[in-house]
C-alpha cells in the first residue's frame, strides 16, 4: 500500500494544524489535525506511521495489514458528534457540516441534494440505490439537530431505480418527500435546489438558511449517520472513477476510499488509463480541475475523470465565456491552452456574480439564461474564430442560438469529457425544464 | 436599395500606381476600379501586383430614368475630350 497524503485543508476555511509529528504511530481514526478557525477535524484513514508533516499535508506510511476497526469519536450530543467526526459537505463545497447544522431552522427544511448533477458521476445515486436507509437516518438526525420539520429529497427524475428505492423507503415517512428534478445542469447548485424545492430564489450572497433550509449532499448525510450511530470519524470518501479506462468508459464507483489515497491508485483500481489521454480531472466535468496522478483524495473529491486527447486548434483565436456554472477563468484558459488556442477575448455571463473580489462566481438564477447574444457580438468583434463556454444547459442553448450563425465555432469546456464518457455534448437544450412531480412528493 | 445588405468580399490586383490614384483590376476580370489614394488604406509601400480586398455589393439601378443633368455633363465632357483629341491631331 502506497503512502497516504492527507491534506490539511479539505474544507472551506483555514487549513488545520497538525497534532502529530513524524514518527508518531497512528491508527485508523486517530485525530491528526484540528481546525485553526472555521474547519473540521482531520483523521488518519489507516494504521501506520507518520512519515512526514509538511506545510500543507501529513504523509502516513500505512501498515501492510489494515484492520476494519477504527478509533471512535467521544460520545456527546448529536451535533457535537457531527462536529467531532469532522464531517464536511461532501458534494464538493466542503463546508463544515457541524457548523451548518448549528442553525435553528424553526421548523424549516432539510433539503437533500441528490441531484448528482455533474455528468459522469454516480456514487450518490448508487448509494441511494444500495442503502438509502442510512441516508434517511442521516436526514432525520439533521432534522432533529437543526429543528427542521420537513425534509425533501431533490433527485433527477431520470434516476428511476434510486427514486423507486426512495419512494419505497419514504412511503411511511410523513415529514420527508421527494422533489423530482429535470435532467439539466446545474440542478445540483445549492440555490437551484432551494428554488426548485421551495420556489424561493436566493440572491448570490444569501445562504439557504435565508429560506429556512439547509442543503446537504447524500453522502454527507450518510457520514452524519455514521458519526452519530457508529461514532465513526470522517476519513473516507465515496467517489466515481470514469473515462478513458481499460475496460471501457463506464463509471467505477468506490465507496469508503481512505482519504489521502492517490488519484493514480484509484485509476489503477478502476483498470488503469487506456493509452493516450488528454487530462485527468479531479471533480466533475464542469467544476473540476486538472490534476495529477500523485494528487491525493480529500473529503470533497467526488470524481476522477481521465479524458481523451484534446482537439488541436492550431493557434486559432478563441473567446472564453466564463460563468458560475463551469470552470473559473483560470480553468478555461487551461483548457484553451491544452487545445492550442489563443485567448483573444474573455466575457463573463451577465448573471455570474463575484460576491467578493476573487471569490468564486455565483449565478444569480442558476439554470435560467440571461441571454448571451451580446457576448457573442463581443467575441465576433474581437476576431475570435472559436469560443469555449462553460455554461449550464440553458445558457449553452442560448449561445448556440447565435454563435454558429455569426460564424463562431463553439466548444464546451466539458466536450472532451462528454466525448470520453459517451454523453451528449452541451449545446442545444432539447428537454423541458419542467418535470412532472410525484403525487404529493411520494 | 433592394439588395443593399448583400455584402460580398472582393479581391483585386493593383495594376496602376499614380501619385494620386491607383488602378485595380478585379480578380476574375470582373471589372476595373480606379480610386483616389485616400480611399485606399495602405499598410505597406505600394507596388504593382499587390493584392487588395474590400467588401462591396451588387450595383443596383435606382430607377428607370436617366438623370438629364448627368447625361448633359457626360455629353459635354465627351464632346470636349473629342474636340481636344482632334485638335491635337491637327497640331501634329
Amino acid at each position: 500500500m502506497a503512502n497516504l497524503q492527507i491534506l490539511l485543508r479539505q474544507h472551506v476555511g483555514a487549513p488545520c494544524a497538525p497534532v502529530v509529528k513524524a514518527g508518531d504511530r497512528v491508527e485508523k481514526g486517530t485525530l491528526i489535525a484540528t481546525p485553526t478557525g472555521l474547519g473540521a477535524n482531520i483523521f488518519s484513514s489507516a494504521y501506520g506511521v507518520v512519515e512526514d508533516v509538511l506545510e500543507d499535508r501529513i504523509i502516513i506510511k500505512p501498515d501492510e495489514e489494515q484492520k476494519d476497526e477504527y478509533v471512535k469519536i467521544p460520545e456527546g450530543s448529536k451535533l457535537d458528534m457531527v462536529k467531532a467526526a469532522g464531517v464536511v459537505g461532501m458534494g464538493g463545497a466542503g463546508f463544515p457540516t457541524g457548523v451548518k447544522l448549528g442553525t435553528d431552522l424553526q421548523g424549516g427544511y432539510i433539503l437533500v441534494n441528490a441531484a448528482e448533477c455533474e455528468p459522469g458521476l454516480r456514487h450518490n445515486i448508487q448509494q441511494l440505490e444500495d442503502d438509502c436507509a442510512k441516508v434517511i437516518r442521516g436526514v432525520k438526525h439533521c432534522m432533529e439537530i437543526s429543528n427542521a420539520s420537513k425534509a425533501i429529497f431533490a433527485i433527477k427524475k431520470k434516476n428511476e431505480k434510486a427514486v423507486n428505492a426512495l419512494r419505497e423507503a419514504l412511503k411511511d415517512e410523513e415529514a420527508i418527500t421527494i422533489h423530482l428534478l429535470p435532467d439539466i445542469y446545474p440542478m445540483g447548485e445549492e440555490r437551484a435546489v432551494v428554488r426548485e424545492c421551495l420556489g424561493i430564489e436566493l440572491n448570490t450572497t444569501q445562504l439557504p438558511s435565508a429560506a429556512n433550509a439547509i442543503v446537504c449532499n447524500v453522502e454527507t448525510l450518510a457520514r452524519v449517520a455514521e458519526a452519530i450511530e457508529e461514532r465513526k470519524p470522517c476519513f473516507s470518501k465515496n467517489l466515481t472513477v470514469i473515462g478513458k479506462i481499460n475496460g471501457g468508459n463506464e463509471p467505477h464507483v468506490f465507496m469508503d476510499v481512505p482519504v489521502g489515497t492517490s488519484v493514480g491508485e484509484m485509476i489503477e483500481r478502476a483498470g488503469g488509463i487506456d493509452g493516450v489521454y488528454g487530462e485527468i480531472i479531479m471533480g466533475g466535468p464542469f467544476t473540476g480541475r486538472a490534476t495529477t496522478e500523485d494528487a491525493p483524495i480529500t473529503k470533497t473529491t467526488g470524481g476522477i475523470i481521465v479524458t481523451i486527447d484534446f482537439p488541436d486548434l492550431h493557434g486559432a483565436s478563441v473567446g472564453l465565456l466564463v460563468c458560475a456554472c463551469g470552470g473559473s477563468e483560470e480553468r478555461m484558459r487551461d483548457i484553451c491552452q491544452k487545445m492550442n488556442g489563443v485567448v483573444k477575448s474573455v466575457a463573463r455571463c451577465k448573471q455570474a456574480i463575484e460576491n467578493k473580489p476573487g471569490a468564486p462566481l455565483k449565478c444569480e438564477r442558476p439554470g435560467n439564461c440571461p441571454g448571451q447574444a451580446k457576448n457573442n457580438i463581443q467575441f465576433k468583434k474581437d476576431g475570435c474564430e472559436y469560443i469555449i463556454i462553460g455554461n449550464c444547459s440553458d445558457c449553452s442553448n442560448t449561445v448556440m442560438g447565435s454563435a454558429p450563425k455569426m460564424g463562431l465555432k463553439v466548444f464546451h469546456q466539458t466536450d472532451h469529457v462528454m466525448r470520453t464518457i459517451g454523453h451528449p455534448l452541451y449545446r442545444y437544450l432539447r428537454v423541458s425544464k419542467q418535470v412532472e412531480q410525484l403525487p404529493e412528493g411520494k | 436599395m433592394k439588395y443593399g445588405d448583400k455584402i460580398i468580399y472582393m479581391e483585386g490586383v493593383i495594376v496602376e500606381i499614380h501619385d494620386g490614384c491607383v488602378g485595380i483590376d478585379l480578380k476574375g476580370r470582373l471589372g476595373y476600379l480606379k480610386i483616389p489614394m485616400r480611399m485606399l488604406i495602405t499598410d505597406y509601400p505600394l507596388v504593382v501586383g499587390q493584392e487588395v480586398g474590400w467588401n462591396m455589393s451588387f450595383v443596383e439601378q435606382l430607377g428607370p430614368d436617366a438623370n438629364e443633368k448627368y447625361v448633359s455633363n457626360l455629353q459635354t465632357y465627351q464632346r470636349r475630350q473629342e474636340e481636344m483629341k482632334s485638335h491635337k491631331k491637327d497640331e501634329v
Binding site: 447574444a373 455569426m406 | 485616400r38 438629364e68
Partner: protein
C-alpha cells in the same frame, strides 16, 4: 442579455425578442426579453429580422404559446393575450388626433433628454482596429455650457488675491490688417491694372502662364459674372482669394490688400480632356455645383476669374500635373497682386479690418490641429508662400514629410495654405477656406479661450507614416501644455486613420480633444478609439453624403460654435452623451438649439444643396 423591468419600460416601443429559450405556457416577463440595444448588431449580421415583431409593451404579461429558442422575435402567432398596438385599434378618424398628440411629445423630447443626460453627445467608438462603422454626430450640452463660465472664472478669482493682475490681461501678440478693395468689373486690356473698381487683366498673359510650366500646354481665362453662373465648368480644383502683402510684410503680420467681389478659380484637364484630379468631380453647371458662401467657396455675386489649364496627357494624376496647373494660374494671380500693390488711391479701400492674435493668460489654453492632405498629387498643400495663397516660397506639405508645422492663427487667416485639394468637392477645404477658417476665427475671438496656435499636419498615404506624424503631433501638443485641443480634417477616406490617431495621441495625454470631420453616412469613421468622445460632424447635406456640391460639407461657423462649446464642456470634465448608432441629423438640431438657448445667441444655420437649382431627377437621386 435579459433586461430589467425598468429597461423594458424605457424600450416599451421596441421589438420584443426572446433572449433565451422559453417554454410554452410561460408568462412573458422582462427577464425573458433581449436588450434592444444589441438589435442593430444582430440585424446587421443577419441574425435577426424584426418585421412583424410585437413591441415589448405588447408582450409583457402575455402568454407564450409554444416553446421558442433564444433570439426568437415575438410575433402575434407566438403570443396569446398580447396588448393590441394602439394604432391598430384606433379607427381612421382618430388617427389624426393621435398625430396631434404625438406632435407635442416630439418637441418635449429634447428638453427631457437634456435633463436626463446633461445634454452632451458622447461618441464611443470601439478601441483599436475595430473596423466597425459607427457614425459620430457630436454636439453640445446646454448644462455643460452653462457651467463653463464658472470654471473659467476660477483663475480670475485666484488672481485677484495673489498674482499681479497685469500678467493676466490679454496680450496682443501681433496683428494683421486687411484692406479691402472692391472690384465690380473684370475686363481684359493691354495691361493688368486696377482702375477704380475695375480690374483689367492683360491680354496675352495666358501665353506667359503656359510658358512658365513645362507641363502646361494651354490656358484659358474665363471671366464668369453672376449672370453667367449657369455655365458648364470642369471640376473646380480651387477657389482662391486675390490678396497681396504690402511692402516687406510677411504673411501673418502687417497689412494685406485683398480684392472683394472677385476670386480666382482653378480648373483644368489634360490634353485628352480628362479632369485633373479627376475624382469627386464637381464638373457641370456652376450654379448647381457651388454651395455659395461657404468659407472655402465663392459668395453669390462674386466674379470668377476661372482658368482652364490644359496639362500634358496622363499627368493629371501625378504630382507635377496639378501643381503645374496651380502654378500657371498663379502667374496670372501674381500679376494681379503686383497691380494691387501699385494702387495708391486710399479712397479705393472700402473696408479695413484688423485681426489681432490675442493671448489670454489664465484662460483655458487651446490648440487647433488641422489635418491637411498629403497622400500625393492633388492630395497636397503648399505651406507658407510669400504671398497670400501664392506659390512662390511655399513648401509642399508632401516634401516636408507631412510632419506637424506650427502656424499662428493669423498666418492661417492670411493665406498660409495654398491647397491643391483633391476628391470630395463637398468636403474638401479649398485655399479660401483657410482665409476664412471659422474655427480659428471663433476660437480666436472667444474671450474665455487662449488660442496658442494652429498646427498643420499632413495626412500621408502609408499607415506607418500616418502614425509617425501623429506621434509628433502628440509630442508637440504635450509640450504646449494645453488644456484642450481641436483636431479637424477634410474629406474622408484613409485620412480618418490619422485623424483618429491624432485624437488618440492627444487624448492619451489627458487632454480633452474635440474632433471635427465630415462623417454622417458616407464619411463614417473607419477606426476609432476611446478618446474620440467629443466629435462634431461637418455634414450639412440632407442625406449625409458626398453630394458633389462644392464645399457643402466643410467646417462652418455652426460647427465651430458646437466644437468650441463641446471642448469647454470637455475641459470642465462634463460627460458627453454617447452617439446614436446611425447618423441622425436631429442630434445636431437639438444641440444647436441648446447652445443658442444657453448662450443667448442666435445661430443661423447655413443652407445646403437643397437651396440650389436642381433637376427633379437629381432630387430623386439624392434626397
Amino acid at each position: 442579455m435579459s433586461i430589467t423591468a425598468e429597461t423594458a419600460k424605457e424600450h416599451a416601443k421596441d421589438p420584443a425578442v426572446l433572449c433565451c429559450r422559453a417554454e410554452g405556457g410561460i408568462t412573458i416577463q422582462a427577464a425573458n426579453l433581449e436588450d434592444p440595444a444589441i438589435f442593430d448588431d444582430l440585424v446587421d449580421s443577419g441574425l435577426l429580422k424584426l418585421d412583424g415583431t410585437l413591441t415589448i409593451e405588447q408582450v409583457l404579461g402575455a402568454k407564450l404559446v409554444k416553446t421558442c429558442d433564444s433570439l426568437t422575435p415575438l410575433t402575434a402567432d407566438l403570443v396569446e393575450g398580447a396588448k393590441a398596438p394602439a394604432a391598430e385599434e384606433a379607427p381612421a378618424e382618430e388617427a389624426k388626433e393621435e398625430v396631434k398628440e404625438e406632435a407635442p411629445a416630439v418637441t418635449a423630447n429634447p428638453t427631457a433628454s437634456v435633463q436626463k443626460v446633461g445634454g452632451v453627445l458622447k461618441i464611443h467608438i470601439g478601441e483599436g482596429k475595430d473596423i466597425d462603422i459607427e457614425m459620430p454626430m457630436g454636439f453640445n450640452n446646454g448644462v455643460a455650457v452653462a457651467e463653463v463660465p464658472a470654471e473659467v472664472e476660477l483663475p480670475a478669482g485666484v488672481v485677484s488675491g495673489a498674482a499681479p493682475t497685469k500678467e493676466l490681461e490679454p496680450k496682443v501678440v501681433r496683428s494683421v490688417t486687411r484692406k479691402h478693395y472692391k472690384i465690380t468689373e473684370v475686363k481684359r486690356g493691354p495691361e493688368t491694372k486696377i482702375e477704380g473698381t475695375t480690374l483689367y487683366i492683360r491680354e496675352g498673359i495666358e501665353e506667359e502662364a503656359v510658358a512658365s510650366q513645362e507641363l502646361v500646354h494651354q490656358l484659358k481665362i474665363d471671366i464668369i459674372t453672376p449672370d453667367q453662373y449657369h455655365t458648364y465648368s470642369n471640376t473646380i480644383m480651387d477657389v482662391q482669394p486675390i490678396a497681396t502683402k504690402e511692402g516687406e510684410d510677411e504673411i501673418g503680420t502687417g497689412t494685406t490688400r485683398v480684392l472683394d467681389g472677385v476670386i480666382m478659380m482653378v480648373t483644368g484637364t489634360d490634353d485628352n480632356g480628362v479632369q485633373i484630379g479627376e475624382f469627386g468631380s464637381s464638373e457641370g453647371y456652376l450654379d448647381e455645383n457651388i454651395m455659395w458662401g461657404r468659407p472655402g467657396a465663392p459668395d453669390k455675386g462674386e466674379i470668377f476669374i476661372k482658368t482652364e489649364v490644359i496639362i500634358e496627357a496622363g499627368t493629371n494624376m501625378e504630382r507635377p500635373g496639378p501643381l503645374a496647373a496651380h502654378s500657371a494660374t498663379d502667374v496670372i494671380t501674381q500679376e494681379i497682386r503686383e497691380a494691387l500693390k501699385k494702387v495708391e488711391d486710399e479712397s479705393l479701400v472700402v473696408d479695413t479690418e484688423t485681426f489681432n492674435q490675442v493671448r489670454r493668460p489664465g484662460k483655458k489654453k487651446v490648440v487647433i490641429v488641422k489635418e491637411i492632405m498629403g497622400q500625393g498629387a492633388m492630395h497636397d498643400n503648399l505651406i507658407l508662400p510669400m504671398e497670400p495663397v501664392g506659390v512662390l516660397g511655399a513648401r509642399p506639405n508632401v516634401d516636408l514629410g507631412n510632419v506637424p508645422i506650427m502656424a499662428s492663427p493669423l498666418e492661417v487667416l492670411d493665406g498660409c495654405i495654398h491647397a491643391l485639394t483633391c476628391i470630395g468637392p463637398a468636403s474638401k477645404e479649398m485655399s479660401r477656406h483657410y482665409w476664412r477658417e471659422p474655427l480659428v476665427l471663433e476660437t480666436l475671438h472667444d474671450e474665455e479661450i487662449d488660442l496658442c496656435g494652429v498646427i498643420f499636419v499632413g495626412s500621408p498615404q502609408i499607415n506607418t507614416e500616418k502614425f509617425y506624424v501623429s506621434k509628433r503631433v502628440g509630442m508637440m501638443v504635450e509640450a504646449l501644455d494645453v488644456d484642450g485641443a481641436f483636431v479637424t480634417t477634410e474629406g474622408f477616406g484613409n485620412n480618418h486613420i490619422d485623424f483618429a490617431s491624432h485624437i488618440e495621441q492627444i487624448g492619451m495625454r489627458g487632454i480633452p480633444v474635440v474632433g471635427l470631420s465630415f462623417c454622417a453616412v458616407q464619411g463614417a469613421l473607419v477606426v476609432g478609439n476611446k478618446y474620440m468622445q467629443y466629435m462634431v460632424d461637418n455634414n450639412k447635406s440632407e442625406s449625409g453624403i458626398e453630394n458633389e456640391v462644392l464645399a457643402c460639407n466643410t467646417l462652418c461657423q455652426e460647427e465651430a460654435i458646437r466644437a468650441l462649446a463641446m471642448l469647454k464642456a470637455g475641459m470642465a470634465g462634463e460627460e458627453v452623451k454617447k452617439a446614436e448608432r446611425k447618423w441622425n441629423p436631429n442630434v445636431k438640431a437639438n444641440n444647436i438649439e441648446l447652445i443658442s438657448k444657453t448662450m443667448d445667441r442666435t445661430i443661423e444655420l447655413v443652407k445646403n444643396e437643397q437651396s440650389l437649382p436642381m433637376s427633379q431627377k437629381r432630387k430623386e437621386k439624392y434626397d
